[in-house]
Amino acid sequence: MTSGGFPARLAALTRKEVRQMLRDRSNLIVGLALPLVLILLFGYGLSFDVTDARIAVVLEDSSPITLNAVAGLAGTDYLSPIWLQSMPEAEAMIRKGEADAILRVPAEFTAELAQGRGRLQLILNGVDSSTAQAIQGYATGAITNALQHLADRSDTRFAASGVTVVARTWFNEASSSTWFLVPGLIALVMTLIGAFLTSLLIAREWERGTLESLFVTPVRPLELVLSKLAPYLIIGAIDLVMCLLAARYLFEVPMRGSLWLVVLASLLYLLVSLALGLWISGTTRNQFAASQMALLLSFMPAMMLSGFVFDLRNVPLVIQIISQALPATHFMAVIKTLFLAGDYWPTILRGLAILTLYAALLIWATHRTLAKRLD
């Protein structure tokens, strides 16, 4: 017929999608409230840092030197020592879960130290291995520090007390897991918004029979895809702003790269997840199956396999290959680099190129699922 064509139809379809989105309360809740919950949950609830770990200190030798050596344990936020006299008492505590570790100072410690071979026994509760490791780090650090102090006071007796390791952490000076988690959280929120919200869109139109009516109009498949992406791109952008504000003001994570690159990379990744959700929706044609698939194909892998939590270099080869196939992995690399390291171009350009490729591929694939055919 006459007026309009592509822009008019796209505008009409987009208007329809926006109206539907605004009228569907549950969709808006998932789109806007859930990210907020995730930010707070992951920002405050999920942390690998250990504070006030209860360490039972058994002083079988209580010479001033010994007391000096272990005094450092009390001077840190990370540990809260419980002073005991006998080993069985400490063992009972660890069994009852009242202590996370035991530091035993043997009766002959002072004598041995004088000979340059002082030994302390540290027993850790390995049930929670990451907490155990953290405690080990804190405890040895505190003791080494204390002994170092003694040595500095030119008490040469202790000069030979062992090698002092001076450790330093780069990029995340505070070794704070919040710094590490919050940038990843942006990836997680973008994945959730993207895949989850859009996974229902095409399937719903199949189920309600609206697509059959739409097909027999001059509408082209690509117009359907684009009109479904647009409103959710805006919701995603709002979520991104929430994440960035939370990162800056709530969790005080530094941003060493440029803000514009962070926004650009995030929106590009958002587009990838939106398109992934739409593709799942168009392929399954069933809302229930689509939302399950979206969870399994996007959110779970993004959480487990993208390097959000686990270091990817330590996983088996198969998992590494899978994780490299995930867009989330590449975005995770870009966003962490941008936040904590700065504008390191090779990583960023590589990541952006891969994401662009994914976006194009998924939009093309989705448009194929909307070929105007019912069989």
């Binding site: 017929m1 139809r9 109206r19 097909f215 027999v216 109009t217 001059p218 069989d375």
Partner: protein, 584 residues
């Protein structure tokens, strides 16, 4: 204009994988449809009507054959065809969360209707569909009939070169159905529009210039309605049911005499039937006795039933229920359902206003009414699925307000959408529903064997792949496992073709003969003729209760069919109410 709209040659379309679960939808179909005419496609379920419509619309590709729509090869250029046609699928895709106006705007935008044309077109569509008052209402909050009219309006936001309507009147009440047809006919007359409509209603097909009769993917016949109807000429008769003999009993008697009678339906207290050509005269005499028989004009429906019966042979014969003893609690004359001043409100909205009636044992009681009349609400209250706001409700001697569970054990319920598990076998479904009603062990096994024999069901067949008619039998069988005194059926014949409906009613009349009370809702007004008594509801009010004859009398003269009577009664009531409102 003597142009050709559609030329189809040897169309073949199958679904599924060949050799495994292949289903043939169209089997070498060829036809030519002329321009500027109203054309009907009729046929039973599975005839391939919807598949053919979708092929016309370029939504499916056939495995073989050629198809030209508006002179365009639709297989090669579907979009070119889609730019010029309008198509209304069986379930029109309205966006339920968008308002009436927004739905119209969307389709106008997509079709690129210019603004100046749009104003005039919308005004006309809203006026014709009587939706002008509801432009701000979300489409999801419209009644079924209004939704269908809005679907038609959205389809017609522009003037297409060809309009395809796939069963536009399924599940739509007689008033809305009449309105829909008025719109379509006006467009054909005013704009010379080419319209192809598929339908299960033969009175609708009768209004078309040309009718194509399809069955199992093939064309059985084509021609003008009168030409087709003449095939049954000389065979069509009416038997006057003598006083005291319900028309449905006579109808059942005639239906069962397959050698002599092709088809029989009750109408206006009499029975219309079609003789077998060359049937034995003496046997016919014996069958009818001294019941007076008069010849009548052959109609399209007669020819249609004739053709289908010839095709189907004996395969689709109804399950004839042999009167089996039913465990009835008390064989007295007390009514099994007593309703007094029943009211149901949803917030401010009164769905059912003060309603009273009784249903006697062994009666077939029909609840009729337009969409949104309160039928379903009344029905759900009777089944104990929905508590009443006020009033007295007694079912099978139990007060539903105090002894709901006890009452439920005495009733069977068949929902509109058969609530069966498609991936379980017939036996597994029966076992499950029997278990749900508290049957078990030997009693359950016996009942399953009995009902399966009664309804001619194959116990090992997977339920999902049963033909529609058999799915419905299974649904009824599950409702009857626990030998209820009352069977509730909610629109059991919606979307079912005439042949299957005949078989269904034969089963129902048989059941009623065994003493089971039947309460049924339906959109097919002619089916009211099978009922002992019917009630017509509109907007929550009970307008009339009585025998079909009494209801026709109430409607006044000129109401030959139940359809006419229904429309007359509802309109009289609405006119009275509107004038009452003006006076007040």
């Amino acid at each position: 204009m003597t142009g050709i709209t559609i030329t189809a040659k040897d169309l073949r379309k199958t679904f599924g994988t060949p050799g495994k679960d292949e289903a043939v939808a169209l089997d070498g179909l060829s036809l030519t449809i002329r321009e500027g005419e109203l054309t009907a496609l009729v046929g039973p379920d599975g005839a391939g009507k919807t598949t053919l419509m979708r092929l016309f619309a370029g939504l499916l590709k056939p495995q073989a054959g050629s198809l030209s729509v508006l002179g365009i090869d639709v297989l090669a250029h579907p979009q070119a065809v889609q730019d010029r046609i309008s198509y209304m699928p069986q379930r029109f895709g309205l966006y339920e969360d968008l308002s009436v106006q927004e739905n119209l705007d969307l389709y106008a935008d997509l079709h690129g209707v210019p603004m100046e044309q749009r104003r005039e077109r919308f005004a006309r569509m809203l006026q014709m569909t009587d939706l002008a008052r509801f432009t701000d209402r979300p489409a999801g909050k419209l009644s079924g009939g209004m939704k269908q009219k809005l679907g038609l309006a959205c389809t017609l936001v522009r003037s297409p070169d060809l309009l395809l309507l796939d069963e536009p009147s399924v599940g739509v009440d007689p008033l809305s159905r009449r309105d829909l047809w008025a719109i379509v006919q006006q467009l054909v007359e005013d704009e010379g529009l080419s319209v192809i409509v598929s339908t299960a209603y033969l009175d609708e097909a009768e209004r078309c210039a040309k009718v194509f009769v399809m069955d199992r993917g093939r064309l059985l016949a084509e021609g003008a309605p009168e030409a087709l109807a003449s095939r049954a000429r000389g065979l069509t008769l009416t038997a006057a049911s003598p006083p005291g003999l319900p028309a449905r009993v006579l109808q059942a008697r005639l239906m069962d005499a397959r050698d002599l009678v092709i088809d029989a339906v009750p109408e206006a207290g009499n029975v219309r039937f079609i003789r077998q050509p060359g049937g034995d005269e003496a046997a016919m005499q014996a069958l009818l006795g001294d019941i007076p028989v008069t010849p009548r004009e052959a109609e399209l429906e007669d020819a249609f039933m004739m053709m289908l019966h010839q095709q189907e042979g004996e395969a689709q014969a109804g399950a004839v229920i042999e009167p089996a003893p039913v465990a009835l609690s008390a064989q007295d004359d007390k009514p099994v359902i007593v309703v007094r001043d029943l009211v149901r409100k949803f917030g401010d909205f009164t769905a059912v206003a003060s309603t009273s009636f009784d249903v006697a044992r062994g009666e077939i009681f029909g609840l009729l009414g337009p969409n949104g009349a309160g039928k379903t609400t009344t029905f759900r209250m009777l089944c104990g699925l929905l508590p009443a706001t006020s009033g007295h409700l007694e079912v099978a001697g139990r007060d539903l307000r105090t002894a709901r569970a006890a009452a439920r054990g005495r009733i069977g319920y068949v929902a509109q959408k058969f609530a069966l598990y498609g991936n379980l076998t017939v036996r597994e479904n029966l076992e499950f529903f029997g278990g749900a009603y508290g049957l078990g062990g030997k009693a359950l096994r016996t009942r399953i064997a009995e009902t399966a024999a009664q309804f001619d069901l194959d116990l090992s067949a997977p339920s999902g792949s049963l033909p529609t008619g058999y799915k419905q039998r299974l649904a009824m069988a599950t409702g009857l496992l626990h030998q209820p005194e009352i069977l509730f059926l909610d629109e059991p014949t919606s979307g079912i073709d005439p042949l299957a409906r005949r078989a269904f009613w034969r089963t129902i009349t048989g059941l009623a003969g065994t003493g089971v009370t039947i309460v049924i809702t339906t959109h097919f007004m002619e089916e009211a003729e099978y009922c002992d008594r019917i009630a017509i509801q509109d907007q929550g009010e009970m307008l009339v209760i009585g025998t079909p004859q009494a209801v026709r009398d109430e409607a006044g003269g000129g109401a030959r069919t139940m359809n006419d009577a229904f429309i007359a009664i509802v309109e009289q009531h609405r006119a009275r109410r509107d004038s009452g409102q003006v006076a007040a």
